[in-house]
Assembly symmetry: C2
Homo-oligomer: 131 residues x 2
DNA sequence: ATATAAATGCAAATTATTTGCAAATTAATT
DNA sequence: AATTAATTTGCAAATAATTTGCATTTATAT
């Protein structure tokens, strides 16, 4: 349940945030703020979306990423942890299972930072654009 | 030599681009467009910087990354390939040696994409901010 | 040398994201 | 349950990074 997910992070449980997670869940792919708003039945102010998403990202609940097209993308961090390849030409994307070893103990010991989340994306040319 | 690096990518060799690479080389850390312009002796229009950097990034010469503070960062892709940890609170950063296995053959086979570059960043709390 | 293609500067536009503040909602306390 | 304190939300406006069109200059290919 979304309430439990939010609660575990220490954030306040609000109807808007539940709606937000529900919309992200429905999308099942990285979406922009605009796409996200369209997915939502409930209305939600853009600034509120940004503020809430930031907290959910910092809490590790939402995956925020950057496909280098000037917009932030958000995706629900589910069990099927994954990343993407992006064509630098046509901007098409595919999901990939590959991930860096998620055990960040060594980095934490070396740097003193407590790692809560990460970003990993591959860029290149798709089959169409490389020919 | 910067000329050779540019040539190998098939881009035109211009004084501006050489100045750009030289400035990135001097910086030896991820820099924003503004920081980069300050490093440069030669003047260069902002739009030109963006356009040239995009090509250098696509060519795999420059590493472009995103620390989630609304600005793009650029760093010369040298021999010392590395990534970073970023504090989500105070925005402080450290370099780390850790990288995903750079052998992307399996991904290329699975997706049909030709991988030219990637982004990988860790986010969390630094020692100060976690206490 | 000449022609073609690519890169540059300028000025203006676009658009994602942030901020301040008052009202509303949620969490904590008695 | 009722009250207080803390957090969240909406609104409107501001901020600032990035992009675009076009004419000119510079680099590459013939």
């Amino acid at each position: 349940m979304y309430r439990d997910i939010i609660k575990k992070s220490g954030l306040s449980i609000t109807t808007k945030r539940i709606a937000l997670l529900s919309a992200l869940d429905k999308a099942q792919r990285p979406v922009t703020i605009d796409e996200l708003r369209n997915q939502m039945t409930d209305t939600m102010d853009t600034s509120t979306m940004y503020r809430s998403l930031k907290k959910l990202v910092d809490a590790g609940i939402v995956y925020q990423t950057d496909f280098r097209d000037g917009v932030s993308y958000f995706e629900l961090q589910g069990d099927n942890h994954h990343h993407h390849v992006v064509c630098t030409e046509c901007k098409s994307r595919k999901s990939i299972d590959m991930c860096v070893n998620k055990n960040f103990n060594k980095v934490e010991k070396d740097t003193g930072y407590t790692i809560t989340n990460h970003i990993f994306e591959l860029f290149g040319l798709c089959e169409n654009c490389s020919s």
